[in-house]
């Protein structure tokens, strides 16, 4: 079995164990925390794995600080899963996006919970960046956003569908091209529609100084499709002259943990989202920071042909994915700096 310690990269480990069919043992999961061990969202993720696969065995010790996982076959199928509200549905979607392409049957998963959160990839980024990225590798997938749901009460609902892929395609993504436009979506749910407009105005204010073609839609949700908590957020996506070959986005929603300390106005949020987008552009690369690990994974699982990608500085998650791909699959990357 593969031995790992700590919960930090639990998702990557579970994904790779499932894809490689190798058993996994994780120890030292928050031994000093109160309460120690696995947290709600991680236990919830194990449930999702149990649902999407057949014949897997999960053993957890009494205090939850160690798990043993023997993967089963990835089955897919149609199911509904209630995600816990500590994390955004992006936390679970990222796992499904890695497993569903290799399932026996098509996957149609309805996930409920928090659609946009500070920590996790939001559903808008998933739909406009992750899905096209999967498509680039030959994976047919889609995401429908049925209801919005903000923290803390969620109430959002999305439907992820994915057709099993026979063979992944090799990619060569080495040229960013030049930024042609910025598109975006600002939304408000259970709050004044004006919040979205204020975020848009601030984000555009900065971006228009570099580029004339900036268009950010503002969207307002009310009633059933607005979820249980008031929320708002902004997503920005870059388009370049190499359209379809660049996957660069940024998203910002209020962070509940910091709300009491620093209250960001919608103007601050719009501006900060735009600044973070520019920061990512400065970093360079064809794929943004949030999608580096997924890209490395799909490159490693691809055909014998060589895949090439241009990335900015690797994130810690991507570095770890690189390390795990080597220990689970023996795949190595050759890195050249430009």
């Amino acid at each position: 079995a593969v031995q790992e310690s700590g919960a930090r990269f639990l998702r990557q480990n579970l994904i790779l164990a499932t894809l490689s069919g190798r058993p996994l043992e994780v120890t030292d999961i928050r031994p000093k925390a109160v309460p120690p061990g696995l947290q709600g969202h991680e236990a919830n993720l194990l449930k999702l794995l149990d649902r999407a696969t057949n014949g897997c065995r999960i053993e957890i010790n009494d205090v939850g600080t160690a798990i043993a996982y023997r993967p089963g076959l990835i089955i897919g199928g149609t199911f509904t899963h209630d995600c816990s509200l500590q994390r955004g549905v992006g936390y679970w979607l990222e796992v499904l996006a890695c497993l569903a392409p290799f399932a026996k049957h098509p996957t149609c998963a309805t996930l409920t919970g928090v659609t946009n959160s500070e920590l996790d990839v939001g559903v808008d980024v998933f739909r406009t960046v992750t899905i096209p990225l999967l498509r680039k590798f030959g994976v047919e997938a889609s995401l429908k956003i049925l209801k919005r749901g903000a923290a803390p009460d969620g109430g959002g609902q999305v439907e992820f569908t994915c057709t099993p892929v026979r063979k992944l395609e090799a990619i060569t993504l080495v040229d960013e091209g030049k930024v042609k436009r910025v598109r975006g979506l600002a939304y408000s749910a259970r709050l004044s529609p004006d919040l979205a407009n204020r975020m848009v105005r601030a984000a555009k204010g900065l971006l228009l100084k570099l580029l004339p073609d900036v268009f950010i839609t503002s969207d307002h949700f009310k009633g059933e499709e607005a979820g249980r908590s008031p929320g708002y957020g902004i997503t920005l996506v870059v388009e370049t002259t190499n359209k379809g070959d660049v996957f660069l986005s940024e998203e910002l929603v209020p962070n509940p943990a910091e709300m009491d300390k620093v209250q960001l106005t919608p103007e601050d949020m719009g501006l900060l989202a735009a600044k973070r987008l520019l920061e990512q552009l400065l970093q360079g690369g064809v794929v943004d920071r949030a999608h580096q690990p997924l890209t490395l994974l799909l490159m490693a699982l691809g055909p014998e042909q060589l895949s090439k990608v241009l990335l900015g500085q690797l994130t810690e998650a991507a570095e770890n994915m690189r390390r795990l791909l080597e220990s689970y699959f023996g795949v190595t990357f050759s890195v050249q700096s430009r």
Binding site: S5, A7, R8, I29, K178, G184, V237, T241, L272
Partner: protein, 105 residues
């Protein structure tokens, strides 16, 4: 990094360690604080704290610091990444253009 510090930098060896003089070996004191932190594994190993191993599982890592993009000179460093900036001859030749609009809704 640790090599740059050298053994006397105190990272690889506890502070009580001195190079042995001829015929004498310096004893490594087991009460040394650094050894204790290391849980007695000796000077060759470093223990990674469980806090690091259990940091939040986040794929979207945000940079800790942002440049001051409101300053024009900072913004101008990005100018040539945009279509509005300078193009090399090679780049202009490549621009095929004419792709359909990317729908965001």
């Amino acid at each position: 990094e640790e090599e740059a510090d050298g053994p006397k930098g105190g990272r690889l060896l506890p502070a009580s360690w001195h190079p042995p003089t001829a015929g004498q070996h310096a004893a490594v004191s087991l009460e040394d604080e650094e050894l204790e932190e290391n849980e007695g594994m000796g000077p060759l190993f470093t223990k990674v704290s469980t806090d690091v191993l259990n940091a939040e599982d986040v794929t979207r890592e945000r940079p800790a610091k942002l440049h001051d993009w409101e300053r024009e000179d900072v913004r101008e460093t990005l100018r040539n990444l945009f279509v509005t900036g300078k193009w090399t001859a090679e780049e202009s030749a490549q621009e095929g253009g004419g792709a359909a609009a990317f729908e965001m809704v």
